[in-house]
Amino acid sequence: MKELSILIGGKAGDGIRQAGQTISILLNRLGYRIFFYDDYPSLIRGGHNFSIIRASEKPIAAHKENVDLIVALNQDAVEKHQNRLNPGGMILYDSDHVEAEGVGIHLNEIVKGLEGKPIMRNTAAIGGLAKALDIEWAVVEDVMKDTVEKEIELNLKIAQTAYNKVEEPFFALQKLEQNMLPLISGNEAISLGAVQAGLNMYIAYPMTPASAILHYLAAHEDDLGVVTVHPESEIGVILMALGAAYAGARTMVGTSGGGFALMTEALSLSGQGEFPVVFVMAQRPGPSTGVPTYTMQGDLLFVVHAGHGEFSKVVVAPGDAEEAFYLTGLAMNLAWKFHIPTFVLSDKHLSESIFSFDADLDKVQPEDALLWDGKGEYKRYLDTKDGISPLAFPGNPAATVKSTSYEHDEYGITTEEPEQIARMQKKRLRKREGLLAELAKNEQVKIYGNPESKTVLLCWGSTKGACVEVAEELGLKVVQPLVLEPLPIEELKQALSGSDKIIDVEVNATGQLAKLISSHGVCVDDMILRFDARPFTVDVLLDRVKEVLS
């Protein structure tokens, strides 16, 4: 397979992510499929940041530990990462700041000489790298014009000077005859999936790794036709969302574990009052503040079990950008069809990594909620056969819409009568049957790799990318449930049937998916867990799987 991995590293404030994204676009324009991983500590200046850009001729959803090229803007990028270099690999570095073996360019001098700002060293690095990869200057120029927002002429001059300083390309990167795809992050895919399913309002309080959804939708409010709101707290967020849903707006909220903990009281209100709402829960390592800018799949059981009282919810767990798009659309439609809370369970690795996005956009359409027909007296909680009470919204002259957190009668008036209480609880829970039938129309469990293999890698969410490649390499099967609540246990059992070894692969310390399915009588044989706040890379996982198999 034709592929290349590049690591670019520097201090926070050096514009590493930005440079990495530009490099991704360069390689995208050459027809490559991209996976972009960003590794940064929770600080604004200093520290050490790095990004890995992996380009491949086939679709990928993971990066590798080892790389072919290191672009070093600081000494740490060499010290911390040179052991990752593949044989024949190369370091390209700023010889004004870094000592290394490889190709040094005076990036700092170039920037200074042209009176640029210090951050423009990243532009110079891109120029040098492009030449090292034998990319035509015209391609670089196009990409820079599309991506640089300020002082384009100066940036071009800096990039070109560095480009010319590299005498000989050392990787002749072939242009592929493939179409170019949009490059989007998991968070952007979630945003677009929601918009495509009719999102009206996005309400959120900043919290990594969900913040970028708020930033993206706020920046594109008018292009996408969405109103964004940043309230006083996550409690404010979720109550606003429920108020907006009551008024008839399709609403989504996004946060991480700590913010979601604050929302759980109102999650239960959405269960009792039957308010449709979509939660994006982008996990990061806990407990508590944990490791804010890194990744973990540690909140699966928290989300599945969140909320006091008994009510239905849906939890979907996408593993790449396309799934993020489709499943967020599904989550929005299910929320409105069944008047329940639904969750898109992401994590830093999915939310902030960037993927080549190849989705069939029309697969997501807003499906209309069941609206009141205007006949007779409106009852918000009409006890129907399928448990779904038609919706009306305040402002409708023929209806009085009474929603409530209390147990209530059909009209929405508080009740403490035993029959009434049991009746309403049954009505709400009855929606589950329709929900299961609706979910069954969708692909709920995915299978990759060798379907005949008796050894299965079981995974969920962002761990899928690494699992799929390892399975392909070793001839194994991968099983990935996309829906985690209600757990599609029959499909899962079907997918696992005939296997004699199930290896559970998760980025957490206790194997939460394994625990979840064990309550349905399905047991795993082995667990490969990573909980150092880093995602599985293809090569690291390959070694771990080989260990388990040997």
Partner: protein
């Protein structure tokens, strides 16, 4: 003419006889009836309540309502108003609700000057949880959680709202029904965040009726200028929710300022937004 009875529901009223909530209920119904008779379509009203004795009010009025959770009335109101700014959003909270559990939302509503109306049924006690002290209980209040007397000084919500940026700050007394209705109507008609602290005796756990009856006087009768912020603070400080001889009721402060909903929405109405094509945005990602 619309009667108070027509605006009622079939729900059994479970307030204690003598409770100040009855007068508040009658007052808001009268105000709504008046608006209806003036041609206003009451289906545009969305009422939100918290949890507590006060909150039952939404069960007793036949308008759209969102019976929310303890302390969270303002954000639920905000969501409704932002989703459909055509609605007239009215909130009812208790003092525990608004000044205790959810005080951050109260402050932010005032800071934002969102166009909605917020009535606090301030009985200066937790009614529904049977008699504990609240943020506005008097110093030394002997409640069930403070048998030796409240260790805290009361907060002054009028001063708090003036500081936070509310553009309509008023106080009413459930024992002065006509006056209360005037204040309520002015609050609903105000464009911006309208806050009304309604002094309400809790017959069972803190019966303040006689205390108020002897001390309450109307600001309107004393030439108070409602656009004068300094004068408003002065009047707000006249009684600090403890002892005192004179308790002003009426509008302390009223000015007009840009509202949050107008500024944030820029004319957009989320419930009427049309689906947009995401392709042009995606094309920028290639």
């Amino acid at each position: 003419m619309t009667t108070v009875k027509e605006l009622g529901t079939y729900a059994d009223n479970t307030w204690c006889p003598g409770c100040g909530n009855f007068s508040i209920l009658t007052s808001i119904k009268k105000v709504l009836a008046g608006l209806k008779d003036g041609g206003f379509d009451l289906s545009r009203v969305a009422m939100v309540s918290g949890i507590g004795c006060h909150a039952k009010i939404v069960d007793y009025i036949d308008v759209n309502s969102f019976y929310s959770i303890h302390g969270r009335v303002p954000p639920a109101m905000t969501g409704i108003k932002l989703a459909n700014p055509d609605l007239v959003v009215i909130g009812h909270s208790g003092d525990g609700d608004a000044y205790g559990e959810g005080v951050e939302h109260l402050i932010f509503s005032a800071k934002r000057n969102i166009n909605m109306t917020y009535f606090i049924h301030n009985n200066r006690v937790y009614g529904l949880t049977t008699g504990q002290f609240t943020p506005t209980s008097p110093p030394g209040f002997k409640g069930r959680s403070t048998p030796l007397g409240s260790p805290e000084a009361p907060m002054n919500p009028i001063e708090l709202m003036l500081s936070a940026g509310a553009t309509f700050v008023a106080r009413g007394f459930s024992g002065k029904i006509k006056h209360l209705q005037d204040v309520m109507l002015a609050a609903i008609n105000h464009k911006g965040f309208a806050f009304v602290d309604v002094l309400q005796p809790c017959f069972t756990f803190f019966n303040t009726y006689d205390f108020y009856k002897d001390r309450v006087y109307e600001l309107e009768g004393e030439g108070h200028v409602t656009s004068d912020r300094t004068a408003a603070f002065e009047k707000a400080g006249e009684w600090t929710y403890g002892e005192g001889d004179r308790i002003p009721v009426g509008i302390f402060y009223q000015v007009e300022k840009p509202t949050y909903d107008e500024t944030l929405l820029r004319g957009r109405v989320p419930v009427k937004l049309k689906l947009k094509d995401i392709r042009p945005v995606l094309d920028k990602h290639v």
